[in-house]
């Protein structure tokens, strides 16, 4: 399945109406095909209006909004604490990354100190989250290109990560584990051993996936030279994450704008040169190995730090431990105040950007001094990355459209939020 490389440098992003309008006199008749919103290879409720000339894609218009949940708006009517549970539900493949971005923004508003144990645990868990998110990407990407085994193997390892999340937070996916000021609960005693067991096997398992795909001629045929997103266009569209790094630009917020002490961890930012579907595959595979490396360091750091506070001791931000409220009136009042009214950050705004599995995830919060945010905006990588899709798809075959959509790894909950 080879296709002509794109010669065009058409950066326009068509709307569905541009494609569905009747052909004008003298224009070539093309076929309009609706892919989605319910199509397994659009990875969610994404509708792609595809203009075809035979099998060749002439133009694509991504039509989003089918999963609009109004999360940003709902947050305006909830306290900061309650809004947190909704961040899990934007990018549902990386809830902890969303939790992290949101709590970092609120903590910046409040200007509060986070105990080192909580920060190390956060790093460890979001890196596990990155691996689990990339495993879903890998599995579904391979499944789209008819490689079934990788999907099953990837989900097996992901299950282990979700089990770790269940161990620490009580939920496999909608964790809500990071709270403003630290963590919701302390890490359980069996945590280090469980994570270590996973870290011991993961590198071997990634080797296995690579055995199946990396040099497989069928895989190369379907991915090499397909959906090229060059560096210039990637920057023009604001694409971040593996899509940008596969185009040869080393831009990773963990290195370039470190948060959560990422500058004290030893890891590399994998990049590639061609910006095609295969390179995005290579970059994500290498990222998983790097994440495992960070996890090992964070686990060691947790071990070195030993037991300690996992949440800030500022009673105006985090509720006191339950054991305290049965005998201390002051604690009881703080407890009631925080769970009913919540805390009140000072007037102002805060912007925090982190590197989520899909790219640059940012939260912007405006506070008017009340216990509820005045405005929350999330800059979600999937939404921005999707803009590059028409550019990447023009000139390739329909089957390639499936491959390159998967390689951008959009999560529709995050696109529409």
């Amino acid at each position: 399945m080879t296709s002509a490389p794109v010669a065009t440098r058409d950066l326009s992003i068509p709307s569905p109406g541009d494609i569905t309008r009747p052909a004008l006199a003298g224009e070539k008749e093309t076929m309009v095909l609706n892919m989605g919103p319910h199509h397994p290879s659009t990875h969610g409720v994404l509708r792609l209006v595809v203009e075809l000339d035979g099998e060749t894609v002439v133009n694509v218009a991504p039509d989003v909004g089918f999963l609009h949940t109004g999360i940003e708006k709902s947050m305006e009517s909830k306290t900061y604490q309650k809004s947190l549970v909704m961040t899990d539900r934007t990018d549902y493949l990386a809830p902890l990354s969303n939790n992290l971005c949101y709590v970092l923004a609120v903590e910046k508003l409040l200007n509060c100190e986070i105990p080192p144990r909580a920060t190390a645990a956060r790093v460890l868990l979001v890196e596990l989250q990155r691996i689990s998110s990339h495993l879903v990407w890998l599995g579904t990407h391979a499944l789209d290109l008819a490689a079934m085994s990788v999907f099953l193997y990837g989900f097996r390892e992901r299950e282990q990560i979700l089990d770790i999340f269940e161990l620490v937070s009580g939920a496999r996916m909608m964790t809500s584990y990071f709270r403003v000021g630290g963590l919701a609960y302390d890490l359980p005693a069996e945590f280090p051993a469980t994570v270590q067991a996973f870290l011991d096997i993961i590198d071997g398992r990634i080797d296995e996936y690579e055995d199946l795909l990396t040099h497989n001629p069928l895989w190369l045929e379907r991915t090499k030279g397909i959906g090229i997103l060059d560096a210039e266009a990637a920057v023009a569209f604001g694409v971040t994450g593996p899509g940008l790094r596969a185009a040869g630009i080393s831009w990773d917020l963990r290195k370039d704008m470190p948060y959560c002490d990422y500058d004290s961890y030893d890891f590399a930012v994998p990049i590639a040169q061609n910006g095609d579907t295969y390179d995005r595959y290579l970059v994500r595979m290498a990222e998983m190995r790097q994440s495992a490396r960070i996890c090992r360091q964070a686990l060691q750091r947790l071990h070195d730090l030993g037991p300690g506070p996992y949440v800030t001791t500022d009673r105006k931000i985090a509720p006191p431990p339950k054991s305290e409220i049965t005998h201390s009136m002051e604690s009881l009042i703080h407890h009631f105040k925080l769970w009913t009214e919540g805390f009140k950050p000072p007037r102002g705004d805060a912007f925090v950007a982190i590197e989520s599995p899909r790219g640059e995830l940012a939260t912007y919060i405006v506070s008017d001094g009340s216990p509820k945010p005045y405005r929350v905006h999330m800059r979600t990588p999937s939404f921005v990355n999707l803009q590059a899709l028409p550019y990447m798809a023009r000139g390739y075959l329909v089957a390639d459209l499936v491959a390159l959509t998967a390689s951008m790894d959009p999560v529709l909950g995050e696109v529409d939020r």
């Binding site: 269940e166 161990l167 909608m174 919701a184 359980p188 001629p217 769970w339």
Partner: protein, 165 residues
């Protein structure tokens, strides 16, 4: 080129002779972790009294407004719970609930606890509302002692706390 395909096939072939990692639900159920957040239960103290004191803090903490608490004064001769009030009605709408565990975190007496039951399915919306009778554990399953602060029923009302919140 063919070699690479055989390398992949060798990997899949090896799996043919391994134990499967999947389990056959519902015959076999995967155990959940200690902290798993499933269906709620209303707990009791060791002496069988209801832990819930009808403070409605869980309802206030719930992000999805899933909880309804209607408190009532305890009959002092035959109290349902230690303290002044108890929950006359306690309902959780399981269709609204997102199992975040905030109610459990907020409850001052550890009355509402998310337990390990996760098979929650119903045919109509009405049966998604779990009433107090469904949530309350049997009297013999109580645990723990009543904290001292709930035992002083005849104390004088305390002055408002002078704490800057």
């Amino acid at each position: 080129m063919l070699g690479e395909i055989f390398k992949g096939l060798r990997t899949t072939l090896r799996y043919l002779f391994r134990q499967p990692v999947t389990v056959e639900y519902p015959e076999i159920k995967r155990p959940v972790r200690e902290r798993f957040r499933g269906r709620h239960e209303l707990k009791r103290f060791g002496n069988g009294m209801e832990r819930c004191i009808g403070c409605s803090l869980c309802a206030a903490a719930c992000p999805s407004d899933a909880i309804l608490v209607v408190p009532a004064e305890n009959n002092l001769q035959q109290p349902n719970s230690p303290g002044e009030r108890y929950a006359a009605r306690y309902e959780i709408n399981m269709l609204r609930c997102i199992f975040c565990g905030y109610c459990e975190d907020a409850c001052p007496t550890n009355a509402i606890v998310l337990e390990h039951q996760y098979e929650l399915a119903f045919y109509d919306r009405k049966s998604s509302i779990y009433t107090k009778e469904m949530l309350l554990v049997p009297a013999e399953q109580g645990h723990g002692d009543i904290p001292p602060v709930l035992q002083q029923l005849d104390r004088r009302p305390s002055p408002p706390a002078q704490i800057d919140l």
